[in-house]
């Protein structure tokens, strides 16, 4: 599993990458009350704001960590946004993205590097 500076985790699964937010990010956000997911089969570019996530207090965006095509989204989050707080690293994945070049993952942080990044 790899990590971004924007507190996303990336887990390779076959020829796609599963993306979610870290426990640290979920804690910082607080109680999530609304999640808006991208359409499947959308081509996205790294940095595009593709998920809207709202806590009681404020709205935030999740950006595409990498260029690719959205092949699946986690509809369970639309029905139950609180899942983001309950299981951010597992059941509360946001989307699966198909990338051209899987070696692109090499550029992201390892778990140790991410822990340094958040000062743990």
């Amino acid at each position: 599993m790899k990590f971004t500076e924007d507190h996303e985790w990336l887990r390779p699964e076959g020829d796609v990458i599963v993306v979610g937010i870290t426990e640290y990010a979920a804690t910082q956000l607080g109680d999530v009350v609304y999640v808006e997911l991208p359409e499947i089969e959308t081509q996205v570019a790294k940095g595009d704001e593709i998920v809207v996530i709202e806590s009681v207090k404020a709205a935030s965006d999740i950006v595409a960590p990498i260029d690719g095509e959205i092949v699946e989204v986690n509809e369970a989050l639309t029905e139950n946004p609180a899942l983001v707080n309950e299981d951010p690293m597992g059941d509360a994945w946001f989307f699966k993205i198909k990338v051209e070049d899987e070696s692109a993952l090499d550029d992201f942080m390892t778990e140790d590097e991410y822990k340094d990044h958040i000062g743990e």
Partner: protein
Amino acid sequence: MADTAPATENLKTLPLRALHEELGAQFVPFAGWEMPVRYGPGVMAEHLWCREKAALFDVSHMGQVMLPADEGAALEALVPMDIVGLSEGRQRYAFFTNDAGGLHDDLMIARHGDGLHLVVNAACAEADIAHLKAHLPAVDVLEGLALLAVQGPMAEAALSCLLPEVTGMRFMDARRMDWEGAALRVTRSGYTGEDGFEISMPAGVAEPFARALLADDRVAPVGLGARDSLRLEAGLPLYGQDLGPTISPVEAGLAWAIQKVRRTGGERAGGFPGADVILRQLADGASRRRAGLLPEGRAPMRAGTPLFEAAEGGAQVGHVTSGGFGPTLGAPVAIALLDAGVPSDATIFGEVRGRRLAARQAPLPFVPPGYKR
């Protein structure tokens, strides 16, 4: 997700800073103060705790001022309220008006035997004090005080263990009390829509007082985050969002707070800044009105969301002044300013991220108040 690194330099700290930290608070800058925004359980659980049990808030950032008891008439030159007729032991909601008929700030005024006790918003405190000093000779700005609020259906039961006298108070009563030798000013009021109390006390006794309250299982600390969602559900306006210099009290739905004696035909009618505008609006109506909104679906409509009467096209008919998620309702809620011509049963559309989402107009408050009248 963008990192939000709050600037912590030059912030004023609460007398209970260390206790909040011990209780697991996360802090944010608010109105120049470092404030606990939430504790361990999070905003949702804290909000629901206040609706079901008793929540302890630290609102010591608010400004406190004393005026001599006989300054009621002079204060009436700044606020459209009946202060002369405010009885000893009672409190009243008030606002400072400006010449255009908008508001400088909203505040609470309590009459005690030793004078008028004012509580003003932290963000406006400096300007309010300057405004008061420009018009009144003896403005005593109180320093070294803490202000704690205990709110919720179990607030009376919990607070009466420390202050038995509170059981004899009703909504908007104000009393001076003594706790372990310290002089307190207690009002039966608050800003959550629940029954509850606000207690002004010397900063030095705030910690033992708070600890004594928190020792009660029914009491939990609640932060600024839940305070905002609680007041939003209760339909209580926030200065800087629902109230401001270009919004009149009539537009903001606060006509109820202007007593008859200060209205046209009253014994002390007018005589406050913007009286011509405000009294005319009371008689003829205003061009905008406040409305509650219940958005369909789950997407919150935040402050600033532009509002329309149609799902497509048409001119903007207003905007959201406060909006978010209401944990008690389990759904988004908003307070809006709408053009007066919009029918009160019309479906409203809020433009959120480029899409128009439907919302139903609803009477405020969204949750029934728990005040002990």
